[in-house]
């Protein structure tokens, strides 16, 4: 090979004094930054995904909350400051995380559709880096969405402490990593946009409804109880309810966090493997 005047001889020389970690971080940052900028620019997406949880919180929350009989059967009624609306608030946060994260992940179908993904895959970037960059993008997006709702929490009388805030953020990040990974995994296996509706019907809504976001899990029939146990979001809702409302849920806080960590690790791994196998074109 003849080297030409004025050209960087080749890339390895160009980047010779940088470790692969530094390089990897730069690339990771690039992918994350793109996701973040796109998120900030797609205002309609932001508005829509903020509006839906608010609708649930205020219409369903107030609507069912006004039915005192329903409310009276709940075990936690001892604390009079917690109504149905407050009870479902952690669930609504999780709902926002589910929608944002899973949709974010499966948006990779659009990236492929518009060939953007191809342009990233042809760059010297590992699939793991692409995956993690996207996952971090999803976590950021979910956290911003949840933050808006957390502010609304003040309005309905949720009390935060610095410590509870830290836990809330950790739980949201773990849950959103898990669910973004799930979305990315599903998206990486899909070739067309038609599958998107399937994700909504068979993944997003079941994850939400089975999480106990809208009802306590104490008196469920066995079949439903089994399903809720399998839903990783259940543990997020349970943990959030404990740190936000002080309601001791089904599981201990440590168990909830452990399950969230495990499912994040599991789905992250599955996601990375799926990305490695994903066809570029």
């Amino acid at each position: 090979m003849i080297l030409k005047e004025g050209l960087w001889k080749n890339m390895p020389n160009m980047v010779i004094n940088k470790s692969w970690i530094e390089l990897g971080l730069g690339k990771l940052y690039a992918i994350w930054l793109r996701e973040f900028k796109v998120f900030l620019r797609e205002k309609s997406r932001l508005i829509a995904s903020t509006f839906t949880p608010l609708l649930w919180l205020f219409v369903i929350g107030e609507g069912f909350g006004s039915t005192t009989d329903f409310f009276g059967t709940m075990d936690f009624a001892a604390d009079s400051s917690i109504g149905y609306q407050q009870f479902i608030f952690p669930g609504i946060i999780c709902m926002s995380v589910i929608f944002t994260s899973v949709f974010f992940g499966s948006y990779i179908i659009w990236d492929r559709k518009f060939d953007f993904l191809k342009s990233v895959m042809v760059a010297p970037v590992s699939r793991t880096t692409i995956f993690l960059g996207k996952a971090f993008g999803g976590m950021t997006t979910s956290l911003i969405q949840a933050a808006i709702l957390l502010v609304v929490g003040f309005v309905i009388g949720i009390h935060y402490t610095p410590l509870s805030m830290v836990f809330i953020i950790i739980i949201i990040l773990l849950l959103s990593f898990t669910l973004t990974s799930l979305g990315l995994t599903l998206g990486s296996h899909m070739e067309s946009l038609e599958g998107f509706q399937l994700i909504v019907s068979f993944v997003v809504f079941p994850l939400y409804f089975l999480s106990g976001a809208l009802f306590p899990l104490n008196n469920l029939p066995t079949w439903l109880s089994i399903l809720t146990t399998l839903d990783p979001v259940t543990y997020g809702v349970d943990a959030l309810r404990e740190v936000m409302l002080g309601i001791t849920g089904m599981n201990s806080f440590a168990l909830n966090i452990s399950v969230l960590l495990l499912s994040a690790a599991a789905l992250g791994t599955v996601g990375i493997l799926s990305f490695r196998r994903m066809k570029a074109v």
């Binding site: 960087w8 080749n10 940088k18 730069g26 900028k37 796109v38 060939d115 042809v122 570029a280």
Partner: protein, 340 residues
């Protein structure tokens, strides 16, 4: 710069690429010319490490596409058939993103981005979102992106597909300029003959996954037997023997044929535009019939393609090429003459 060795690609039972062997030299503009579905894009994707070949390999910039895909990726820039920039981001942001992905050193990043923007003439639109760009501008942004990390090889997959004639000319201008300014090896695919003719140093004609000819556009056209002068005489029953005899004295005349359909005389010559007056003079002296009209044709790559594609088919079917003589129009026939 690129060596493709016995490359095969099969999807299920369909052979998309069949034993491709090509050598592309440094600083060369190499064109892959072929109809839709010939395997051009698949070949580019394999060279860019996006698809793995079924068998065989290729060396790009000294790196094996199968053993060192990452090094290959750092060495190449690629412009896909369809624009692949993020249209929510601005032109500048797209370039910034890719300069990070290609690990362009921080101190060179801004300078390099301005350089490529300048090269493709997008400097004053760099802060507009790509969705506000026209088709031609998007394509130019893709080229800028492909050049960002100073690749030694750049692939352009149908660079002017879907562009209007004037945008296409602008694109050709940019491509020519970047070959000159950036001193790179350029591989482009196209199914436009005039594009390959205009831009490429050498052309590989690809059809049904096989390379059926590799040469310079001039050489390929030369193989068709030079240029052709078609003459119509007032007297339809011209004496071919006579014309043959009088033109034998000119060393630039290759052969004389009578078109069976209309009785016109076809004279195959070198450098027709200069030699036509001489031929007319000689014929005027020797013949007792007047020339009614003269048409001069240079073979186009279209003829070249037809010729090679056809030769290839007949070879495969084991047919004598002359058997097809009755079929087809002038072009096909013309293509066959070149074979003799």
């Amino acid at each position: 710069m690129i060596t493709i060795k016995n490359l095969f690609k099969q999807y299920d039972n369909v052979t998309v690429l069949n034993d491709i062997n090509i050598e592309v030299f440094d600083n060369e503009v190499f064109g892959l010319l072929g109809p839709n579905g010939a395997g051009k894009t698949t070949l580019i994707h394999i060279l860019a490490t996006l698809i793995k070949p079924t068998a065989g390999t290729a060396i790009v910039n000294g790196y094996d596409i199968i053993k060192n895909p990452s090094e290959v990726r750092s060495s190449i820039g690629i412009v896909f058939q369809a624009p692949s920039s993020d249209d929510m981001l601005t032109g500048y942001e797209n370039l910034k993103l890719h300069s990070l992905l290609y690990a362009v050193p921080k101190e060179l990043r801004e300078k390099r981005i301005s350089e490529v923007l300048e090269l493709v003439g997008l400097t004053n639109r760099k802060d507009d979102q790509v969705k506000k760009y026209s088709g031609g501008m998007r394509r130019r942004l893709e080229i800028a992106r492909g050049l960002l990390h100073k690749p030694t090889v750049i692939f352009l997959d149908e660079p002017t597909l879907g562009l209007d004639p004037s945008s296409r000319e602008v694109m050709w201008k940019y491509i020519n300029r970047l070959v000159k300014d950036e001193k790179i090896t350029l591989i482009l695919t196209t199914h436009y003959m005039e594009e390959a003719d205009f831009l490429c140093d050498r052309i590989g004609i690809i059809d049904k996954g096989m390379i059926i000819a590799v040469d310079s556009p001039t050489q390929l056209k030369e193989q068709l037997g030079g240029e052709v002068i078609e003459m119509e005489f007032a007297n339809k029953h011209v004496d071919k023997e006579n014309i043959d005899r009088v033109l034998k004295q000119c060393n630039f005349v290759r052969k004389v044929e009578i078109d069976a359909k209309n009785g016109n005389v076809l004279i195959y010559v070198d450098d027709a535009s200069h030699n036509l007056p001489t031929i007319l003079k000689i014929l005027d002296k020797a013949n007792n019939t007047e020339v009614e009209s003269v048409e001069l044709r240079s073979p186009t790559l279209n003829d070249v393609f037809l010729k090679f594609a056809q030769r290839h088919i007949t070879k495969k079917q084991g047919l004598d090429e002359d058997e097809d003589d009755s079929e087809g129009g002038f072009m096909e026939k013309y293509a066959q003459y070149g074979n003799k």
